[in-house]
Symmetry: C2
Subunit: 265 residues, 2 copies
């Protein structure tokens, strides 16, 4: 039987330890091809490169236990997936795995996440797809405690398929293996960032800003990803790219949206 073909990408760049760990974990499950950004792309959201050129380079990062093929790409995470699917891969991958991100993509962070934009791009193109993030920003984060959960989720997704129009946003708490309580299916917690701009003056006398902020949880449900993570669980949020708020369509149809002098007037 042919082994599953696994496309691996991320937003922290092709040399990030989180991606190198993910490649090792995926090698146990199938053939692995990496197409990842040549530089960090955090906070890129679902950006794509429309008005600039893209470069791609075949390379080998880990001689031992590395991917079957690896390519860096000068674009965003979404660009990497597009280029992989249309140009670099010889056949359609069975699954696309993005990460492991250094840092959380839970709750509202999904909106800003380059890791998840790569996963969503693959989902739009009809490929089962999962983004993984560890709640540890440091470059020397320990990914090993997450290994079994990651392999379990990917194996189940390969076995069952992921529902159409859905990709998984998986976040993993920063805990030791024996502290992890299990895996929970969750909804995205309501939250936002309370921004603070740190205003400074540059050596030429011109004001500039650094964006900083504090995470503000607005949701105390026990079925959310934030609850799961705080309580020691790996959170799996099924995430969709049909953004329609179907539940308000009926209400909006009661609004007065008649326009004068139009084609029916």
């Amino acid at each position: 039987m042919q082994k599953p073909l696994i496309l691996v990408t991320n937003d922290d760049g092709i040399t990030a330890p989180g991606l190198r760990a993910l490649v090792r974990y995926m090698k146990d499950l199938g053939d692995v091809i990496v197409v990842a950004p040549d530089s960090p792309q955090s906070g890129m959201g679902h950006a794509i490169t429309l008005d600039n050129t893209l470069y791609s380079k075949r390379m080998t990062i880990d001689q031992i236990n590395g991917a079957d093929e690896e390519y860096s790409c000068s674009g965003t995470p979404a660009d990497c997936v597009k280029l992989a699917l249309q140009e670099l891969l010889k056949r359609k991958p069975d699954i696309c795995i993005s990460g492991i991100n250094h840092g959380s993509n839970s709750s509202i962070n999904v909106i800003y996440s380059g890791t998840m934009s790569a996963a969503i791009e693959a989902g739009i193109e009809g490929i089962p797809s999962i983004g993984f993030s560890l709640l540890d920003y440091s470059w020397d984060a320990d990914f090993e405690p997450a290994k079994e959960s990651i392999q379990k989720i990917v194996s189940e997704a390969l076995k069952n398929g992921i529902p159409k129009g859905v990709v998984f946003n998986v976040n993993i708490p920063k805990l030791k293996k024996n502290e992890l309580k299990g895996i929970k299916i969750c909804r995205q917690a309501r939250a936002n960032w309370k921004e603070k701009f740190d205003k400074r003056t540059n050596p030429m006398g011109k004001d500039y800003y650094w964006l900083t902020g504090e995470f503000e949880l607005l949701d105390h449900g026990e079925d959310t990803d934030e609850w799961a993570l705080t309580n020691g669980y790996v959170s799996v949020v099924p995430t969709q790219f049909d953004l329609t708020a179907h539940h308000v369509i009926q209400e909006l149809n009661t609004w007065d949206l008649e326009v004068m002098n139009n084609g029916e007037g």
Copy 2:
């Protein structure tokens, strides 16, 4: 009575004709403050500037019929909204309007849209918010036929409020005023882009790519934005930033996600 305070932004940049038209139309409805990118940001998705500085500049573009205040910002559309709300505006705006985009943001394009990322950012911060796009990419597009529909939708949103957690994605067909049939509440059509990468060789002998593609509609429902636009209607899609696919949670809870040797084992 105090006039509504309207924050206007976009992704084509502060000098774009679509934004200048929007400022004129919003001046009929309230006080207008513009905070918009100093350069085009199309395809930026929901990118934010995490590892770089932001600059902002007070300016006046149109002496007559211009905004009450205008600021350019060196960041992305989402950065503009964050900076406006936290630093530049003296009070919370009553509504945030993004656009008018030169080109469509219907169906799956919402995911890549800088115009909509600005609107969604304001929505996350609890501000009623609408993105407008005209299906005409040209810089000298005629926005006048859209004026009445835009003013009608914004007036109704100011009167009724927009449901919590929802922002409007409004697209306008490229038609004469008397050809516009009216305004329709729609759902986002299922669609994707069939990418083609145009591969070339640079003068130094290195291969590079241009991203190009064809829009592929996968949805033939008559309640979609694509149907409305093709049939002469302005489409209004209520768009949400809770990306949870609530309808699959029950099914996913039947998966075997037990992990060995964990905290409960």
